[in-house]
């Protein structure tokens, strides 16, 4: 079990489903919604494997829209 646990909060209305965060994730946490779309018709991103998130915020860094907010907590504290 990882010593850190991260969590990504997605601003689903701002997301444009560009997939850049998905390919930047080292632990394969993120995925685009296969069917759901937001008000603008984009398949927004969601956490497919939330347990795997290490809070590295690669996704937030490469997101052109700034729609991701990343949290990280050490579990041994």
């Amino acid at each position: 079990m990882a010593k850190v646990q991260g969590y990504v909060v997605v601003n689903t209305q701002r997301c444009k489903g560009c997939d850049l965060c998905v390919v930047s994730c080292p632990t394969d946490v993120l995925e685009l919604q296969p069917r759901e779309v937001n008000d603008r018709g984009y398949h927004y991103v969601y956490m497919k494997n939330p347990e795997e998130c290490i809070g590295c915020f690669n996704c937030g860094t490469v997101c052109p829209e700034g729609c991701l907010t990343v949290y990280r907590k050490r579990l041994d504290k």
């Binding site: 991260g6 444009k16 490469v62 829209e65 700034g66 990343v70």
Partner: protein, 253 residues
Amino acid sequence: MDISSIVSPENLVYAKPEIMNDNHMHYCPGCSHGVVHKIIAEVIKELDLQEKTIGIAPVGCAVFAYKYLDIDWQEAAHGRAPALATAVKRLNPDKMVFTYQGDGDLAAIGTAETIHAANRGENIAIVFINNGIYGMTGGQMAPTTLSKMVTSTSPDGRDVQMMGNPLKILDLLALLDGVCLATRVSVHTAAAVKKARRMVKQAFENAMAGKGTSIVEVVSTCNSGWKMTPADANNWMVENMFPVFPIGDLKNI
């Protein structure tokens, strides 16, 4: 997993920069412009320059840059951003003045303004987005378009015999005595974004310190104009753009 214990302010590690507002950006999904806007917002916040920054918006895709960052902006005529920045900086020497330009703006119609502003050593920062194409008007060939690159006005690829070679304007600018920083970065990975942020920060510091003109060229993608997915466009950029526009400092004094 207890989400509420993780999602709390003391665990926050990344959020949209405060200077970037909530207006919905008009850029295509995956456009590099958004990342560079975020970098500028973060650097301005870090240097505490929000009240002292004047941005010069270009003509091109970034024409609406003033809608997305909560700083003072002035819109320039096509290609004239360095000339306008010269005036703004000379009239407001205590302000941090930067231009934000694409390759059609800086390297085509604004070549003269860019070169002469840099040659005068105006104390401005220039953020130059180079995606090798005119993105806004539908992907026409730009001066920076690569040899054999297919665009809407070069459907058989750019023929350098007929249309000239890709213009490496940063190499030209680096030769000028007025330039203190000429560097090429990219924003396709998290590590590259961090490097780009360092260089933009240095450029803004140079502008405040009066060291001369700083140019940060961001080798970018235009996935709509290149007709690729954003991830494929990043890979294509690494394979094809980087050999012609290599990443790194050309001049840093």
